[in-house]
Amino acid sequence: MTAPTLTRPRRGARLAGTRAPRWHSRVSTPYLLIAPTLVLLIVLFVYPIINVVALSMQSYNLAQPWDDGFVGVDNFVRMAADTAFWQSIWVTFKWVFVEVGLQLVFGLILALIVNETFIGRGLARALIFSPWAVSGVLTTTIWLLLYNPGAGLVGVLADMGAVEHGVSPLAGTESAFWAAVVAELWRGVPFFAILILADLQSVPRDLHEAAEVDGANAWQRFWNITLPHLRNAIVLATLLRGVWEFNNVDLLYTLTGGGPAGATTTLPLLIANTAIRSSDFGYGSALTVVGFVILAVITVVYLRLTKFGKED
């Protein structure tokens, strides 16, 4: 009787009926898995950018199709001499600085208030955060009604003799800007309040207690403990909000349409009016490219200056 011999299968040998994966399938499978994401990115992100850059060097005006064709940098040369463009740049920066600055200040104050313990805090938080859930167009509708000289708050004030009849904050080159600022402030403050409140809740309480024992007053504790702790939240919120306000179209387009007399025409509104209302997609694309470059440069500079994400 011969004892059975146990043999160890050779490393890498295949079991009967199975096939080893080939080299190329091992290499290609990860690419196949990420392919859908890549395709989406290319279709939704890369292609539109390339398309806009290509269009920016063409005359492409639906109202004047006989002029369509490659024009090189003509659209950018035209932009340099376009007073509406420079005016829109000025309005855009004024809008972004005023909006983000005021939203930060009011958002911080409100976050500090609702971070304290008091009766009705839940309700106060809900009320403060609720405008964030309102869309830009709906916000416009609310504020258009308030500013309506016939039926709105302005009309009531006129009936009381507080303001002139037939006057609307939206019908004045100076007042329209500030009327739009107030409407957007109402919607934008909750964003800062939410982010800052979330960060406030992670400020170590023992640091405050220690500072209090050392004789620091409330302002000193806020300035030296709370504010430095909030730095990353503030940088992130101002950056995000800055980009959003730069690109703000929904509220301004529906509230003022960029008027009166161009007083609230920011760069995105000029783009919308040029491309959509004037059907001049070539020049509109050139304006978009410039807006894109401005935002990219500002973002990089801002993140470097604020040392976002780096510890002191």
């Binding site: 196949l32 109202a63 004047q64 000289p149 016939g150 006129a158 037939g166 019908a171 008027g259």
Partner: protein, 437 residues
């Protein structure tokens, strides 16, 4: 290739086959039921949808194999939506359009010439020759790109009841017009004698009042030069602009159609300029006896000068896959009874000779006035150059900011009109050069 890869390839091929199959299956057989897309934008949405819905019902009863889907486009965004549709190829079969907009569509080769169908239509002979000739100016080729079945005219609307209460006589001249605006203004009560259109779509009002006063008879002279900055127009517009903030609300700086209608409807504005399309709305609110719609008063030089003589109708889009069926519907809309029905309900001038004798036409004071003025051989009709594809862009977008600057005193009337005249003169010169005129 392993089994996984084979399965992946097979799935891709199957998906592609299905897509191709779906695309192919969209081509209808000859006897198959066809659904037409009809986009409209005239009138207030509620009335327009009701009236157009009724017309579709009548058409479908006569043509059971053809269904019509209606889409109403709000007036302030209709142009943009149509423009996007043309760019993307997602066009309807039939479009409710007019002389003001159709040149944009012909410039983009988006609409079908209707001449062959039109010549064989039994309703073609009903359309007034002047309307047909006007419709053929939309494109330099002189072809017909829409059926001119309805018209509009600009009108000065005012509240007769409010004037009567205040003991103010109805205006009969331009001097009266300014006097009434002044007398009816009671700023402390928020009531203003006139509503000036400072916002979107201001141009028709401006032209109506300016050329109406000045008596200048053409928009572009024989040399291709715009007459907008003619000294008589400058003088007329200066007088008109002086009303802003004095006899009008300052909030009129942004006033568009909806704002004007709201102000007029609330009794806070006594007079405003708009076209005949406001008739049904005004009558519904105040009653026919309390509102009047009059044509421009004679100018200092004598004749009445009217502008805004627009004609409306249906066009067939080049992208339509059912052009013959679409023509059936367009032809059906030219039937006198249908022209009468839609014109009566939406406040248009019917452009069908048999309808001129309808009782309702003779009962409407603003319509009777408009037709009488047009029929008067002494009347000067200002023909805006709607054939310029840039017309709407210049009138609605480019000049909007300068016009608001004028109202606020930041830009003189003269400079504004010089700028406007330059733009139209340049557009006219380019048009003539392109078409060898």
């Amino acid at each position: 290739m392993n089994s996984e890869h084979r399965r992946l390839l097979a799935a891709s091929v199957l998906a592609a086959t299905l897509l191709v199959g779906t695309a192919c299956s969209s081509a209808p057989a000859a006897d198959q039921e066809v659904t037409l897309q009809w986009w409209t934008s005239g009138g207030d949405p509620e009335t327009a949808n009701r009236v157009n819905g009724e017309l579709i019902k009548r058409f479908e009863a006569e043509n059971p194999k053809i269904k019509v889907d209606l889409l109403y486009l709000p007036g302030d965004s209709a142009e943009q939506k149509i423009s996007t549709a043309v760019s993307t190829g997602a066009v309807p079969d039939i479009l409710d359009t007019g002389i003001v907009n159709v040149s944009n569509l012909t410039a983009r080769d988006a609409v079908e010439p209707l001449d062959d169908w039109f010549e064989n239509s039994e309703y073609a002979k009903n359309i007034p020759e002047s309307a047909l000739a006007n419709a053929r100016t939309a494109d330099p080729d002189g072809k017909l790109y829409f059926t001119p079945t309805m018209g509009l005219a600009n009108v000065l609307w005012y509240r007769k009841d409010l004037l009567k209460q205040a003991g103010v006589a109805e205006p009969k001249s331009w001097d009266d017009f300014y006097a009434v605006a002044d007398e009816m203004t009671d700023a402390d009560k928020g009531v203003f004698g006139y509503i000036i259109r400072g916002g979107n779509g201001f141009m028709p009002q401006l032209l109506d009042v300016m050329y109406g006063q000045s008596g200048v008879s053409s928009f572009i002279d024989e040399d291709g030069k715009s007459t907008l900055n003619d000294p008589r127009n400058v003088k007329a517009l200066e007088r008109y602009v002086e009303m802003y903030g004095k006899d009008t609300a300052k909030s009129d700086l942004n006033a568009d159609y909806l704002a004007m209608v709201a102000q007029f409807g609330s009794g806070k504005g006594v007079m405003f300029n708009h076209n005949l399309g406001s008739y049904t709305d005004n009558v519904k609110k105040f009653g026919a006896e309390n509102v009047a719609g009059v044509q421009p008063f004679p100018s200092e030089a004598g004749p009445v000068t009217v502008s805004g003589q627009t004609i409306l109708g249906n066009a067939i889009m080049k992208g339509s896959e059912h052009k013959d069926q679409a023509w059936k519907f367009v032809d059906f809309m030219m039937k006198p009874e249908n022209v009468s029905y839609i014109s009566e309900e939406l406040g248009y001038i019917p452009m069908s000779k048999p309808v001129f004798d309808d009782t309702w036409v003779k009962d409407r004071q603003p319509l009777v006035d408009a037709i009488a003025v047009i029929d008067d051989p002494k009347t000067q009709v200002l023909h805006e150059p709607f054939y310029l594809p840039e017309y709407q862009k210049i009138a609605k977008v480019t000049l909007q900011t300068p016009w608001q600057q004028v109202l606020q005193g930041q830009l003189s009337v003269k400079k504004f009109l010089d700028q406007a005249a330059d733009l139209f003169t340049q557009a006219e010169a380019a048009y003539r050069a392109r078409n060898g005129k």
